[in-house]
Symmetry: C2
Subunit: 202 residues, 2 copies
């Protein structure tokens, strides 16, 4: 049972992933993958995080793809992508896990996964971000909106480097869940059932 | 409890609607709406069906909109749209129903509905159409593909006459379900639970 979760920033995708992992007794991977990449490449976690989340990755899809297939890998940003591919495939080969983000649905294309996309309207995302904010983070609604657009944009860019598929396009997912005004806790049990059925059919 | 179901042709959306209505004890509306429009306008069901499903509707969105707000309604195609709006709103005002197609999600915008979109990849849609085909319908896979594209295209056009929103865009629905390779029967119970939760929150 392998669940991949792609999500807009502020949509509650991470919480859905964590709760599903808990309910189903699955391993949970999110930031953990960055720690693993850091360990295996010797790079700092901040640097790796930046590559995927902060949009510093400057290559177009085609350019990166040609690098991904060449070796030895010289460029450190490409090296992160290659290592991420390796690690996600290794995690999946053990099965029974939830992987949040990191374009796992694209990397595991063709494997027996269920791929969820979590999204919400801007109002709900702003509200959710505020609720989760650190004490010392004090952004206005406008600033939060800007951040939400930016982070999602970078996730999209990152995804498009790893994959030919468009991030957030419903056809690339098995189930797309709009969490606008939804209490995440209340949807976990039906989602769990949906997922259990999914893997039962095989 | 009002469920609207929009669906690609061949995705099994109608079956999902019917089964949910049965399980939840809700009234079910699909072709029934056409019968009601026919009864109230005196037009034939075939003619009304054609307007929405066969793409004979020649007006652009803006043009139709201006007509929708004028009265008395002269044009018979516009009259069908106006009557459909009325009937769908009347059905919804009684509550506890499933409405399949007819842009009900757009017509009931702002009401407390749950809006589902059902889709699938072409291979699954062709397989499902074959399974459901009449004995005397004997289309090749290629012909079926063409029909599937055509019907969905016309549903999209029809939706865009009634609404400003884009048909099939995930942001306009609460849950988007990919039925590729999915046994419809097996997902009804989790969907029912998801929907029950949805209406319990209010």
């Amino acid at each position: 049972m392998i669940i991949t979760i792609s999500r807009e920033f502020g949509s509650g995708g991470r919480e859905i992933g964590k709760r599903l992992a808990d309910e189903l007794g699955l391993a949970y991977y999110d930031g953990e993958i960055i720690t693993l990449i850091a360990k295996e490449t010797g790079m700092s976690e901040e640097y790796i995080q930046n590559i995927s989340e902060k949009g510093v990755y400057p290559y177009t899809y085609q350019f990166a793809k040609s690098f991904l297939n060449s070796s030895p890998v010289q460029n450190s940003q490409i090296q992160v992508l290659v290592k991420q591919n390796e690690i996600i495939k290794k995690i999946a080969s053990k099965g029974n896990c939830v992987i949040v983000g990191r374009a796992a649905n694209a990397i595991l294309k063709g494997e027996d996964t269920i791929d969820l996309f979590i999204y919400a309207d801007m109002k709900s995302k702003v509200a959710r971000c505020k609720q989760k904010a650190d004490e010392n983070e004090n952004l206005s609604d406008k600033e939060l909106e800007k951040k939400i657009v930016e982070v999602s944009k970078n996730r999209e860019k990152f995804h498009n480097v790893v994959s030919n598929e468009q991030w957030g396009k419903k056809e690339n997912y098995d189930l797309c869940i709009n969490t606008s005004g939804v209490d995440i806790k209340s949807i976990i049990t039906p989602l769990r059932m949906y997922i259990e059925n999914w893997f039962r059919r095989n």
